[in-house]
Symmetry: C2
Subunit: 283 residues, 2 copies
């Protein structure tokens, strides 16, 4: 699993770097970004926050727009941002090139249906292959947290709920909290997983949180001026599941904030401090 | 001068907004962005930092990538980011569509040569027309500072050096400090101003700083891993001019940092605190 450096920029005394590597899970070449805080450059093994982005994004959106590096540098946390789907020659895309299926829209599931199933295995990629690669090549510990936005908020919650032993904490901005009951989720799950709704449930955070396999502390922020809130996001389903099962979920609602990175940037400091607290407890 | 709201996003308790308006100076419709801190939403008249972007940028780059809103909110400073050239139907562009001439490359001069002279008057736009518009329509004071990056660092320094009474302070990241002696500057000045090098000098920060009309405190940050440093930027010319004239310039050089927004984001807090200090002295 060789890594090819694509770019590097010094940032808050640490380094933002982009790498390409061949993913066996996705059977294609993938790019990801990593922010290494100053502590990591001094040989210290730092914990890692995995950031899963939303529809249409690549590894770049979060690194350029969230303003997370300042706090990551201060707190001594690395951040890894993968792409949102397999890409490249031979990777299938939606025939209509819709933004919510195919390229840029992997939905963090392991597809079982043709033509997707050969490459669209983003769940295994972000939960297992990418962390193994990162832990083999960078000065990082095995203490991990996971966070994301929208489709990536869904991905982060599902990753933590299905693998409580692997993550110290999980957070999300504006997650697709109940994809089984939302148009984006239904479209993607039908394509990637087929019509059997049983199969969908293992990728639905609200279903999983109702019967948790373990308790990973969860923080969710939702803007109340988010134009996708009523139709696609359903945080009320997540909240109801947490209440039923006694899950440690903090859901905060923010007047006036929308679905954009301006919202994420406004509260990313609190997410990083939340993760740092839980990562320190583990360490 | 009517303003048309294009978009708005809540950000750090304040608002990022984009507006369109007809510019008489540029004879075309222009878009700009403004960040209004929470204090401005409460009716307080806040000072304004004008941010001038570099080649190829629009009003969006700084607002999305610099991470400036957090401090602007805390310090109670509005930020205005104009576009980098006139745009739209009938606006001339470089026939070769080069990134360093024409659209996205106005160089903050008043062009005197055809075909540019009817629209490419970014100096008058950013120094006079845009501040008048902003001060007429938003809860801001007439206390102004100006900052920029690369071509916009050149623009900011020239604006302050030629109008010391209009600005409390000026700062720049990686400015084109001596455009008369740099390929980007020579190409743009030849096109916009003609072959008469006398005319170029009133848009050259190093020439202006050697014989200042007044003293506006200046802060310049330069990355030492900036790939444009040796050929295009010439901070040493600016430093020599400041030494000759006793100009209050602080030039800082930063090991390992490049020409990107990762550099800007790393030090924008110090620029905002620098401007806040000078704007408070004025108020």
């Amino acid at each position: 699993m060789a890594l090819e450096l694509v770019s590097e920029n010094k940032s808050f005394g640490g380094w933002h770097k982009q790498y390409r590597h061949f993913s066996r899970v996705l059977d294609c070449t993938m790019q990801f970004a990593i922010y290494l805080p100053p502590a990591a450059m001094l040989g210290e093994k730092v914990p890692v926050l995995y950031w899963l982005s939303g529809l249409t994004c690549t590894d770049e959106n979060f690194m350029q727009k969230a303003g997370a590096q300042r706090l990551a540098a201060e707190l001594g946390i690395a951040i890894v941002a993968p792409d949102t789907s397999p890409r490249g020659e031979g990777i299938p895309d939606d025939p209509d090139q819709a933004y919510d299926l195919g390229l840029g829209a992997g939905f963090y599931v392991n597809a079982t249906m043709a033509p997707w199933c050969d490459h669209y295995r983003m769940y295994d990629y972000v939960v297992a292959e990418l962390p193994a690669l990162v832990e083999a090549h960078f000065p990082v510990s095995q203490h991990r947290s996971v966070a994301g936005h929208s489709m990536g908020g869904h991905g982060a919650l599902v990753a933590a709920l299905r693998n409580p032993q692997r993550y110290a904490s999980v957070s999300a901005f504006s997650p697709i909290s109940n994809p089984c009951n939302a148009p984006w989720g239904q479209k993607a799950f039908t394509a990637y997983l087929g019509d059997d709704r049983e199969a969908w449930q293992s990728y639905d955070a609200s279903v999983l949180m109702a019967k948790p396999q373990g308790l990973v502390a969860a923080l969710v922020d939702q803007g109340l001026a988010d134009s996708f809130l009523a139709r696609e996001l359903h945080p009320e389903a997540l909240l109801a599941a947490a209440k039923d099962s006694g899950y440690p979920l903090t859901l905060r609602q923010h007047e006036g904030y929308d679905h954009s990175y301006y919202f994420i940037a406004s509260f990313i400091e609190e997410h990083l401090r939340f993760h740092a607290g839980h990562l320190q407890k583990e360490a």
